[in-house]
Amino acid sequence: MSDILKALIEIVGERGVSNTPEEIWFYSRDPGVLTPHLPDYVVAPRTTEEVQKIVLLANREKIPVVPMGNGMSLTGLVIPLKGGIVLDMKRMNKILEVNAMARYAVVEGGTSQGVLKACLQEHYPQLRHSIPDAPPTTTIAANAALHGQGRLTQQYGFNSEMVTGLEVVLPTGEICLIGSPSLGPYWFSRGPTMPDLSALFLGWLGTTGIITKIGLRLYPNKKIRDVELFVTDRVDLIPDILYKLTHLEILEDVNVWFQPKPLMFQGNFHITLYFTGDTEEEITFKRRMIWDALQEYMDSKDGGFMSVQYMKEMLMEMPQRGIADFADVPKGGGFEYSGPITILSHFPQYAAKVVELAAKYDVLYASSARLISGGHCMMFSISFAFNRNDPAMMTRVKHALDEATAFALEMGGIPWKPNFMEQKMIMEKMDKNALKLLLMIKKNLDPQGIMNPGNWEVNT
């Protein structure tokens, strides 16, 4: 047994560490198309102190450390590109506090979306958090760390903007509290009125530290949720439609999607509109506002509301499982997407690009855009399904996604949760002084370059 393995066992116990081939095989990959790479060890700590000891060990031994939530980014963000330790955070899954009056929760760094959802439903039914359309096993900290989105993103912004404080183990081993918890027992503010230090850890994809605790805003959970589905066959109208809808300031969530299969969806662009209320009167009032806002498109016959009765159960799911169904249309259960953040007025160009790429690379597409912060921008997902047992198809998907990212950058968009190649493309395009600042911050926080190496690096 190696000295490192012995040291890791001393920190987390025998059941918390492994280097057996069958276990590190699983930690070498994610469900996307990127090439797997084996770690040397997988470690599952239970406490912040254990995380700290592991990081100190990694510093001494100069071993890479890759913090991992549930490993569902699809873009290889937790594939250990340079080996080392994969730090599986799932055993740190406790809800530490719910402050109902201040509407925030504090959870450990490996707590899943499903655990928080279940806790709130049972004990705080008047509160909810912004659930992403990802499996419920995905973690809150990882989602925030990669600027994830969820069901409340249209109203309140990226899920990372809902962070109210952090506890972080720095790459050099110090435990650091960020925001109001650095001054007292309350987790109500990530920064204001101080400098917002949380920005040193959100969006960095685990390259600047390990989030061991996270505070998260909670929001009112209205008694009734409802949905409408507007369709149009004119992509050029989509930006104006979205502009009118967001002007209403009453929508919980807005998703625009189009796909060629099944046949009933072919040729149309669908806008799913979620809204909430505490009474039937409130729901009816909001529904009428939505319909009135789009009446001109009905009058011109360019768009209309479709009946949602038969789809309602599926549409109301949180998270929506139907997204996974798409992965299995070509059989073999794979899908990956490029999800650039961009402005609403670019929707028609992005939509045309999806169709073009699908035809060029002979792959099946489905596309969905989620509005962010009342329409200031959107996440436009360019999704392709593939058969995991068909390497040629996976290569075609990879090429299509690379081209989608290049297109997004040309259009002035920002790739979301970029893989290491896409990060390089971003860094090549970004303002040189901004890049200098980025690298300076990273170098200062992680002088040995052990945190998730290969990511946000110029010379990978």
Partner: protein, 343 residues
């Protein structure tokens, strides 16, 4: 291509113009005005009827002279390139009901139980009432009556698809097709006849089948002793001679149908197509009037014939305190096969 069998002279000599004077959605007060507008439709001219018709099917019932005002309005609309509903909704319905080879057929002999393209019908067509035919089902777009496209003024879709549906049923080698969907029976009888499309099997209306079976099982019936309001579907306007069956069946199982304003010829549609075509204002108004009328009769249940109406109105009638139930399930309750729907 099949063409509508329709006589201009019948309209030209009509002294009642009831097709439009009785219309619940286009206001006419004088015979000459209504007759004049209908004659514009007849001559292929523009008319307010083409712009205001809500596609409720009712004029097919109002016309007592055997002409087909609604099919003609729909033909004229399509001929002028008009859309009743928004274009993407119209095309979505066309795509959604496209035959794609994804159908289900059970062990069929001389009879088939047609479930159209409505999954709920497969569940309804089971149990003691349907014991001899329950497994002999046909389901899918290949067996779907395309009448819904009249709402969207796309008669070309009906003329194209109906002969194929009929041919698909003929290929099963059946002599009788028991139609669990009201609209299927209306299509195989009224629409096929209006277009001269041959139907080489005997369509059986499920309410005829239901009445016959309930009579056979009369000694098993425990009268339900309830009051109910009936939601008549638009497609029943194509087969008004079958409307009395509802009362006969309900009488047999001890369900009282109290008189109400919106029944028979004056019934109101479920409103969902109106929502697609005209928007929420008309649909909400129609549904509100209809449901309040049901409540005022003291009805405890709202009885449905069409699963689409049931899907549209169930939640709304439940909020008004009525229990939504399909007439087949009401019969199953009467023979003790199904527990009473919880109120």
């Amino acid at each position: 291509m099949y063409a509508l069998k329709w006589k201009e002279k019948v309209c030209a000599t009509c002294t009642s113009a009831e097709c439009l004077l009785k219309c619940q959605y286009i206001s006419f007060t004088r015979h000459d005005e209504a007759h004049g507008e209908m004659m514009k439709v007849v001559r292929g001219e523009d008319s307010r009827v083409l712009h205001e018709c809500a596609t409720c099917y009712a004029c097919e019932e109002y016309c007592k002279r055997g002409n087909h005002p609604f099919y003609l309005i729909s033909e004229r609309r399509e001929g002028r390139g008009m859309f009743t509903a928004p274009r993407p909704i119209t095309n979505q319905w066309k795509n959604m009901t496209q035959m794609q080879g994804k159908y289900m057929v059970g062990p069929v002999k001389d009879k088939v139980l047609s479930c159209c393209f409505i999954p709920d019908l497969g569940i309804l067509g089971t149990g003691e009432i349907f014991k001899d035919v329950a497994s002999a089902v046909a389901f899918g777009a290949e067996f779907m009556c395309p009448a819904v496209h009249t709402h969207f003024a796309r008669m070309s879709v009906i003329k194209e698809r109906l002969p194929i549906v009929i041919e698909n049923l003929v290929k099963l080698g059946v002599k009788e097709v028991i139609c669990l969907h009201d609209e299927c029976y209306g299509t195989f009888t009224a629409i096929a006849s209006a277009y001269g499309i041959d139907v080489p099997f005997k369509p059986i209306y499920y309410m005829d089948f239901l009445l016959s079976r309930m009579r056979e099982m009369k000694d098993r019936i425990t009268p339900l002793g309830i009051r109910a309001a009936y939601q008549r579907p638009c497609s029943n306007r194509l087969i008004p001679d079958k409307y009395p069956l509802v009362k006969e069946i309900l009488d047999l199982i001890g369900v009282e149908l109290p008189a109400r304003e919106y029944q028979g010829e004056n019934c109101l549609c479920c409103g969902e197509i109106l929502r697609s075509i005209s928007g929420y204002k008309l649909a909400d108004d129609v549904q509100e009037r209809n449901l309040n009328d049901m409540v005022q009769t003291g009805a405890e249940y709202c009885v449905f014939n069409c699963p689409a109406c049931q899907s549209s109105l169930s939640e709304k009638v439940a909020k008004k305190g009525l229990t939504p139930v399909h007439i087949i399930n009401l019969c199953k309750m009467a023979i003790g096969e199904k527990e009473r729907e919880a109120r």
